[in-house]
């Protein structure tokens, strides 16, 4: 032991600077580990509108109020019915019947989190669309559950008019079946939280790493030191030697790679040197060329990047700078990572290697910044460089574009028949609802639903074989908002809304279809 306890106590007071976390941090601890303070503050400044106070709507809201969104409004003119009181957890059973559904739900949802502001607005969506459209655009995101087709079309068209208007999450459910879609023009993600780490660039070692690797005197080294050299040095060294003997090429065939691995193991002074075993298992890093992922390269030629202007959003400026960096820097690679995985090594050697990477990453970041033509917040630049291998740009379409595109539907009959069947059955229900008197009971027949769905497909294209399964369920329970379906949608929609608001992780691209009979989810691409 290095210190006795007294020394530990004395020497630490200056080092551990953080106080115990406050109550808010403690309350949010389990989620801060997923989206950090930056994600939390994005949530806290968001303003959500939810149309209307159904069981599904309140389930979605519950999962947004708990993690702490800033504000929500429920738009709903209806009074609580006995049916509502039976399936909605955010109503108080029979005692809520006859009261405003929005007010009751807001009151009970607000109990979940003091930090969230909730409001009930008792107007109808129709009235708002007629007289107060501007009000809708003041929210960051709008969620709509089971809207009748005509209103849904008016709402989705309105919110599509301008890129700055709120994102719209459209949720449809009928018994065991459901679908949701997020309407956005464009969504960019820097912090996508990828599973894969950035390349250590062993095939293109930076000067200090190459220098230190070559300077190691493996043969005459002390045995203990030898057994604690991080594999990065070993791989750089073996690769350098290999290239010298092979006209500058890395091992490329299976036989060569086996040979390469043997060379690594042959360097061992003792048979149990774990660092050399690790180097062997990590040998692929030496022959895997560090390249720019194709998805990132595709971003470089995006028109918003090639036609960059001073008013372009920072994301596009950063991508533009990245494309220049890759093009002009000698490695033609993404900026070096400053994050080193753990490896068999002693403390000093590991920390020194970490320092080399950090210093080099810092230099490359400086070079990267020199390509920026506008000023971008430092924290954003840091996050961008760190995630430059996993950036995401999603371009969406207006809700309804799929149903207006018979050719796309015909293709999906072939490629995604199960998902499409549910989508068509739900679309048929939405449009039937539009054709009947408002608030009349919705009791469509299978035949009527089938005719509506068939009308969406081009002439000569048949409904998928699975359509019968989907339409039968829709006819069985057309407007049933089942507690379990509502709860599942509540989770899955809230999750995507959180990703949209925090701009972390990657939201859905297309329509998400849910079948709770066979318990599967699937996507219909945009």
């Amino acid at each position: 032991m290095i210190n006795d306890s007294k020394n530990v106590e004395e020497s630490t007071t200056a080092l551990a600077t953080e106080e115990a976390p406050d109550n808010k941090t403690r309350r949010y601890d389990r989620q801060l580990r997923l989206w950090a303070a930056s994600g939390q503050s994005a949530l806290e400044s968001s303003r959500l509108l939810v149309i209307s106070g159904t069981a599904t709507s309140t389930s979605i809201l519950k999962n947004l109020v708990l993690p702490g969104i800033g504000h929500f409004t429920i738009l709903d003119p209806r009074k609580v019915t006995p049916e509502d009181a039976g399936n909605n957890f955010f109503l108080e059973g029979p005692s809520s019947i006859g009261k405003s559904r929005a007010e009751e739900a807001v009151r009970l949802l607000c109990e979940l989190n003091d930090g969230v502001e909730g409001k009930a607005d008792l107007r109808s969506l129709e009235e708002v669309l007629d007289k107060d459209k501007e009000w809708l655009t003041e929210f960051s995101l709008v969620i709509a559950h089971n809207l009748e087709g005509g209103l849904l079309e008016r709402l989705s068209k309105l919110l599509w008019e301008d890129e700055s208007y709120p994102t719209l999450a459209i949720v449809r459910s009928s018994g065991f079946l459901a679908e949701f879609y997020i309407q956005y023009h464009e969504h960019t993600v820097i912090e996508s939280h990828p599973e894969t780490a950035q390349s250590l660039q062993i095939d293109k070692p930076f000067p200090a790493l190459l220098r230190d690797s070559l300077a190691l005197d493996f043969e005459n080294m002390d045995v203990t030191d030898h057994g604690h050299i991080p594999y990065v040095y070993i791989l750089v060294r073996v690769l350098e030697d290999w290239k010298k003997a092979h006209n500058g090429s890395p091992p490329s065939t299976y036989a060569e790679r086996q040979e390469f691995k043997k060379l690594i193991l042959a360097m061992r002074k003792k048979s149990d040197e774990e660092n050399f075993e690790e180097a062997e298992s990590q040998a692929y890093r030496a022959w895997t060329a560090t390249t720019v992922p194709s998805e990132i390269r595709a971003l470089f030629s995006d028109s918003k990047v090639t036609n960059i202007t001073s008013t372009s959003p920072p994301f596009f400026h950063l991508v533009h700078a990245l494309s220049k960096f890759v093009e002009e820097q000698p490695n033609h690679a993404l900026p070096l990572t400053s994050t080193l995985p753990d490896m068999k090594a002693d403390t000093n050697k590991y920390i020194n290697l970490q320092k080399l990477y950090k210093e080099r990453a810092e230099e490359e970041k400086k070079i990267f910044k020199s390509y920026l033509t506008v000023s971008v917040d430092d924290a954003m630049v840091d996050a961008f460089v760190k995630n430059s291998h996993a950036l995401k740009l999603l371009r969406g379409k207006r809700w309804g574009s799929l149903d207006e595109d018979p050719k796309a539907l015909a293709e999906l009959v072939e490629t995604s028949s199960k998902q499409l069947s549910t989508h068509l059955a739900l679309s048929a229900l939405t449009s039937l609802a539009t054709k009947q008197q408002p608030n009349a009971p919705l009791t469509p027949t299978i035949e009527a639903l089938t005719a509506e769905a068939q009308a969406l497909l081009p002439a000569g294209v048949e409904l998928p074989a699975e359509f019968g399964d989907a339409v039968g369920e829709v006819a069985r329970a057309p407007n049933a908002d089942l507690p379990n379906t509502a709860a599942l949608l509540g989770g899955i929609v809230a999750q995507e809304v959180i990703k949209m608001i925090t701009k972390q992780y990657i939201p859905i691209y297309g329509s998400c279809i849910i079948d709770l009979i066979e318990t599967w989810t699937g996507m219909l691409p945009v």
Partner: protein, 432 residues
């Protein structure tokens, strides 16, 4: 165990229209409904008057499960949880409020549900699942587990498998198991002895990160190594027998200070309060939304199994929500050599030179068995016992002996361990 009475006087009456939404499903079969489905009053009566369901865990999943079951029409629900409410639960365990911190989860959750959903009886038990015997578990039609502990799941699974008596059809209790971690989760249906059980799929679990003690003591490289040093080596050295309480901010504060000092000495960056707490408590990120998805999937299966209104999940639903919504539904296969439901011994082939100590090491490393500190015996002799101390001492010399000296080829070795919900039978053969 005394059951709580509902605080709502109008409780028992179902008002007209109450189950309007669900009755759509229960009054009519769908295209994929089993022909045996008894639509109408029969199924409604079973669900609302006869069915008795047990929920294990009243935490992140448990709160959601209880609310869903109550709204679905289950009226006799029991819940077991041994924990009390912590402030860090409030970001997702939506039946609890700041005033409830420190109270038992099971009791507070049960009271909340009974107040919010009139006519539903929720009977809480604040304690361990191991406190209850077979007779207790026999009374339920179905068990839903919303647990965060592998050991509790293994115990519950083995208990329900052992409960199955082929001559008593009611002894087969479907077990629905949910689990979440961050944006990921899974829900599965286990029909004990019929489908793959929890033990059958142990090898699907992620291996927990373990840091070798020599790294912690001699060559720390990561902030985690410094934190482990503080908690594993320094705490007992400085505080002796005083137990470390990872919920006590003063204890975490001490560990943080000690870890930060060690990190500074080795020039390691990144020791923070939050990381210290995360490492010593083995914290798994958890959010309301993922719990809602998985709990809903579990309750939906409970509803389908209890009513036959639709086929139930066969048998595993896995969800990954980090990149879009990705899910995978598949049939996990039963393992013939599953120590719990397979009924066969696990075959193991050893080099004749293998010592008992080496066998123990091999066993503890097997991902599909997950054994800690095993004791070994044959039908005729004790090979090595971890406890009590006098037997440990008397069997210790066997550690250095070859297994082949103690067990004949094809012989069976019984393995017991505190992590195993049952004793495991090994059939030993020797490579030549």
């Amino acid at each position: 165990m005394a059951s709580q009475s509902s605080s709502n006087p109008s409780a028992s009456a179902d008002w007209p229209g109450r189950y309007h939404h669900i009755d759509h499903i229960l009054d009519t079969p769908g295209p994929r409904t089993d022909p045996e489905f008894a639509a109408g009053d029969q199924v409604k009566n079973f669900l609302r008057k006869e069915s008795k369901i047990l929920v294990i865990g009243a935490g992140g999943l448990g709160c959601e499960i209880l609310a869903n079951l109550a709204l679905t029409g289950f009226k006799d629900i029991h819940v077991i949880d041994m924990d009390t409410i912590d402030i860090s639960n409030l970001n997702r365990q939506f039946l609890f409020r700041p005033k409830d911190v420190g109270q038992p989860k099971a009791t507070v959750a049960a009271e909340f549900i009974m107040k919010r959903v009139p006519g539903v009886k929720v009977t809480p038990y604040f304690g361990k699942i191991q406190d209850k015997d077979d007779d207790y578990y026999m009374q339920f039609n179905l068990v839903i587990c919303g647990l965060d502990s592998v050991e509790a799941r293994r115990w519950m699974n083995a208990t329900l498998v052992n409960l199955v008596d082929p001559d008593v059809p009611d002894s087969l209790k479907p077990m629905i198991d949910g689990g979440t971690e961050g944006f990921k989760g899974q829900a599965r249906v286990i029909l004990p002895t019929i489908t793959s059980c929890y033990e059958c799929s142990l090898d699907m679990l992620n291996k927990p990160t373990a840091f070798p003690i020599c790294t912690i003591a001699n060559t720390p490289r990561l902030p985690e190594h410094c934190i482990e040093w503080a908690s594993v080596l320094e705490w007992p050295r400085v505080h002796g027998d005083k137990k470390m309480d990872t919920d006590d901010p003063e204890h975490i504060g001490w560990l943080y200070k000690v870890a930060a000092a060690r990190a500074a000495e080795f020039k390691i960056e990144g020791v923070t309060w939050s990381l210290t707490q995360g490492v010593v408590k083995n914290i798994i990120p958890a959010i309301a939304s993922t719990n809602a998805i998985i709990a809903a999937a579990c309750c939906n299966e409970a509803f389908k199994i209890s009513t036959s209104s639709a086929a139930f999940l066969n048998n595993y639903f896995m969800l990954i929500g980090t990149d879009g919504v990705y899910s995978y539904t598949f049939e996990h296969e039963k393992r013939d050599d599953c120590p719990v439901c397979g009924g066969q011994a696990v075959d193991i082939t050893l080099n004749p030179e293998t010592t008992v100590e080496q066998l123990i090491e091999t066993l503890t490393e097997r991902q599909d068995l997950q054994i800690k500190k095993p004791s070994l015996s044959t039908p005729t002799k004790q090979i090595y016992l971890q406890a009590p101390p006098q037997l440990e001492k008397s069997t210790r010399p066997n550690l250095e002996k070859k297994v082949s000296e103690l067990v004949p080829p094809g012989g069976e070795v019984t393995v017991t361990s505190s992590t195993l919900p049952m004793s495991l039978s090994l059939r030993i053969s020797y490579s030549t």
